[in-house]
Symmetry: C2
């Protein structure tokens, strides 16, 4: 049997993916530009690449509105939302870490 | 204030680091060769690099026994062990995912 943690690592084992998912969890639906501005240091190329992989893996969905210019919105799928407890655990740990170092 | 999830990503935002920490959490103290065999696909160079970063960040400790040849053992520090709830959350998610896909 495969290692359960390896399953998560295979889906989220890239810091940009974790930060994209964080933004969608916290803020719901986001446009490309909003994600780009909300994630420090990510290039447009990297963001595009990681969004595509997350979509392929079924964690996020993309909706295109036929406007001019076309509007594209990203959000978590139901499957993607099931990862919330993992993000909660990271959030709790990070919060108590920041409290301890007094940041 | 810094984002708590970004704190975790900065410490663990590499799949090899997560897998190293997983091995030390599950198996306790490990020698370099044991880690190398326990982590699918990691190169010796990458493993050395990631172990050094985890040591610098205070998550793991390294103990050298003055034998011939010298024995080097790695284990989680107390600080590293505080990340267990994050790994538990990943483990739970991965387990229910594997059950659902019937693996």
């Amino acid at each position: 049997m495969e290692c359960p943690i390896e399953v998560v690592v295979n889906l989220l084992g890239d810091k940009w993916k974790v930060l994209i998912m964080r933004n969608l969890l916290l803020r719901g639906t986001q446009r490309f530009g909003e994600l780009s501005r909300g994630i420090n240091g990510v290039s447009q190329k990297m963001l595009t690449q990681q969004l595509r992989q997350l979509e392929t893996d079924g964690l996020i969905g993309r909706k295109i509105y036929p406007e001019i210019p076309p509007r594209v919105e990203y959000s978590l799928t139901e499957f993607g939302q099931t990862l919330k407890p993992v993000f909660d655990a990271m959030h709790n740990w990070g919060t108590s870490y920041l409290e301890q170092i007094g940041s």
